[in-house]
């Protein structure tokens, strides 16, 4: 019953390692995305590096897709993972926007 509702089929024994590695890479790549984005915005890196940050987000999203596929997640969890991926994409944009506003108020 659990299997039927929660996932479309059981996880293959050989897939667990890939699931754990890909879930780790979700956060590692996500961290690189946010980190490089921030570094470009504060001028520690040149503007062209921004494309690398978006590349890391795509890698992060792919790892999330891979992880979800191997887990055979149900429809709701698919949506949850998509929301998480979009949330991570928007996070540095939203934070930097607010950061920028605070700096303007504070320093000018």
């Amino acid at each position: 019953m659990v299997g039927g509702i929660l996932m479309t089929q059981d996880i293959h024994v050989d897939d667990f390692l890939t699931i754990f590695v890909s879930s780790t890479l979700v956060l590692v790549f996500g961290g690189f995305y946010v980190g490089i984005y921030t570094a470009v915005k504060v001028k520690l890196l040149k503007k062209w590096a921004m494309s690398i940050s978006y590349l890391f987000w795509m890698l992060c999203a792919y790892c999330m897709y891979l992880m979800g596929s191997l887990m055979h997640v149900n429809d709701f969890t698919v949506k949850a993972l998509v929301v998480a991926a979009i949330g991570l994409f928007l996070l540095p944009h939203a934070v930097y926007y607010m950061q920028d506003r605070v700096h303007e108020e504070n320093e000018h």
């Binding site: 667990f16 699931i19 956060l27 969890t77």
Partner: protein, 474 residues
Amino acid sequence: MANSYLTSESKRLATWYFTFAAIIFGAQLLFGLVAATQYVMPSFLFEVVDFSVARMIHINALIVWMVFAMFGSVYWLLPDETGIETVGIGLGKLLFWAFAAAIVVVVLVYLFIQVGPADETSIWFIHEGREYIEAPRWADFAIVVVVLGFISNLYLTGMKGNRSGIVTVLMADMIAFAGIYLAGMFFTDNVSVDQFWWWWVIHLWVEATWEVFVGSLAAYGLITMIGAHRKVVEMWLWIEVAMLFGSGILGMGHHYFWIGTPEYWWEIGALFSALEPLPLVAMFIHVLYDWGKMQGEEDAKGKEHSVITNKPAFTWFILNAFGNFLGAGIWGFFHTLPQVNLYTHGTQFTSAHGHLAFFGAYATILIGMMYLGVQGKNGIKVMNHTKSSIWATCMIFGGVLGMTMALTVAGYADFIISRAQWGATWEGYFAGQGGIWYAQGMGWRLIMGVITFTGFLFLVKDLLSTGKAANHVR
């Protein structure tokens, strides 16, 4: 020791809290070593300090030393943030001694009485038998009184003095911290219902109120140690609070997957657990961002010195950001979705996550606060590393990371055999526990535990002696 450089009674009281916290931290590690040894040599201290007792003291001491260090941190930062002496400091001192005495009695009872008759007296006077919050009922009430006194001091000081963003967040957070504890003070005969409320304390403390508390400490540390702009830091703090509460409260669903609660918790748990790493990524980037920005401003002025005024403390703050991301973020995300948690829950995988998350998210920053205490107590302007502080940092962090890796290997072998291959059967459980990888993982965990404890001894030596070291700027 004389507190010659401390003019604030609140900060003096904070050093008492830090000192007691360090002692209990040592007890936590010591009994952790006993429990780890028992995994490798099951007869070790058999019927003297059984595994159940060693484990109980290990995890209870963990909670208690952190709560002590948290109270100490608040008493330390209150005069700086509010601009006045903490209100009700006499009560604070009285409550410190009452709290410390209660903890000593509880630990002695755990150690020497251990078990009692199968009736209400055991619950009232020995322990409640509910992991993490085993404190007997009398101690529960004592803790509530102490926490209410602490909160009244915090509120009275916050209302009388300057109420900064950090103090405001702490005031709100501490109400939740205290209120949620009440959910763990009763139990029901229905295990599902009982666990439902029990998680209110365990999860909501750890993944909501404590994380917010850490965010506040990080904000205070960045302002005091590198001179980060308050407005910027507090803006980050509010974002983190929103994200932590937004994802952390309903993230509790990942503990409700298999305890008999309705199935909709799978979906709630999956969604909010998937979002839980986001604030941890944000906190990590925030600390690095502020550090880089302040150092950049100094460099632009042509000054080559570091902006950091307390290097040991700042090292622990950086390790906090990293450890939180690693332990709570990566090791949590590993097995937070119900599809994979079906296999991993209750194995050494959980233990690996618990060790690194508690250490990374909380122990690190609280050790950092202890170093801020040492700096203030000894009137040091710029505090540098000593050999002991470097050894302590490397051995403690390396040791805990090593324990986590060892437990991950053991947990992986455990759940693959016992759950994925044997289908969570009785025989499967023992097959999983008897595997070579499991046994070797436990051996390495013990070795890494010894390294951690040795690092702790260096830490104690450093905290006691670094105030007199000659390499600081005074």
